[in-house]
Symmetry: C2
Subunit: 251 residues, 2 copies
Amino acid sequence: MENSLKELVYEFSRTAWNEYLPHLSIDCVVFGYNVANMKILLVQLKDQENWSLPGGYIRKEEDINQAAKRILTDRTGAHDIYLQQFSVFANANRSQDFFEEYEDGLWNKQRFISLGFYALADYEKVNPVVDIFSSNCDWIDINELPNMMMDHKLIFDQALLNLRRELNYKPIGYNLLPEEFTMPELQRLYEIILGKKLNRGNFYRKMIGYDILDKMDEPRMEGKAHKAPNLYRFNIQKYNIALQDGLKEGW
Amino acid sequence: MENSLKELVYEFSRTAWNEYLPHLSIDCVVFGYNVANMKILLVQLKDQENWSLPGGYIRKEEDINQAAKRILTDRTGAHDIYLQQFSVFANANRSQDFFEEYEDGLWNKQRFISLGFYALADYEKVNPVVDIFSSNCDWIDINELPNMMMDHKLIFDQALLNLRRELNYKPIGYNLLPEEFTMPELQRLYEIILGKKLNRGNFYRKMIGYDILDKMDEPRMEGKAHKAPNLYRFNIQKYNIALQDGLKEGW
């Protein structure tokens, strides 16, 4: 018979005290984008209705970025996902209710200060891994999020807010779009992150004005040739230079 | 005779294990502004050449913001300083060299992941407190920073970068300027934070365009009456509404 979540947690706790830094956890908001849909990776722990962000702990000698990478690789098999630490979630009783029925002294029941990371991926290229603690691990559209445990919805909200602000000085577009894309595809990504419609002419003018895109010689071949949309790709050198100052810094 | 830093640290260590969360520290970059000078609060520990950021630890039941406030109040006597957590400094061996000569098992010698906070204050209103561990605590101009211990210069650099980015969506100006100020004074603050000269006409136009300032009826009375500069003050209601979207979000 399968073990319950409770049994698994008690077993994990026995070795965790030696292996990980106490009081510190990592929660990851993994944004996945593909053809005009933005999703995040969510986990449903065994015996739980609410979903949670993929997360884990930091080994005693491990850098926090290494730890976040390891956690994501375990969940996705992917090794080259863009990762960014963005905030700290530290309410003294943020996990108190969840572990109320567990015994004191359990690793998971101590006070955890969680380092929030966000990650950027193409969800078509990532296969969620259901581990022994969970019954589900899935990409879920950010407009259809289920109930989430503890403060995980707050962590998601903060991550999205950060993504919005960082559109101007982090390579967000570069990490979410395929190598070549059309201008409407780029605009759609911005609209989804910003949560609002943008004017097509303004968007085109600004993007061209930043001088960070290379226009491909060949348009995308689909349907009628005279309607084939132009393809662009980021000029990563120019993009990185522009990002240093912030794409919109008008001062 | 006065105790050495080493003796004081060993004494502190005995009770610290019971009082604070292990592995977690707080470092504060306290920006102080007054009449066109930007300084930060720095501490010189006893027997040390290098300076350090004011910092401390988190009590076992304490919220991280409470902890940062307590640390700043101890250092400054001030209770209402604007505080913002901005990044995490977690290199596995960031404090290894500094504590090399100390014994293992010492509280201060464990691995610390530091939560960086920045704070905003008027340095004329804050009196630095020299505590038992330190020989100096002073406001030092950001253009004349001395050598700093461990990764504290990096923490300062990151804090300044954050301040620059957050000029657009955090009440930075409101927390650093006196209640009433002239447009050149506001421009000077922006120039110091951004680290570059700004065009006077553009700055004036943009600031008025944001519609976040109230112009006072009376200009500042100094020198010749016909040259008295206009005084402004932030309209905090309008300012907060504008900040929600980001002052410069042009999309």
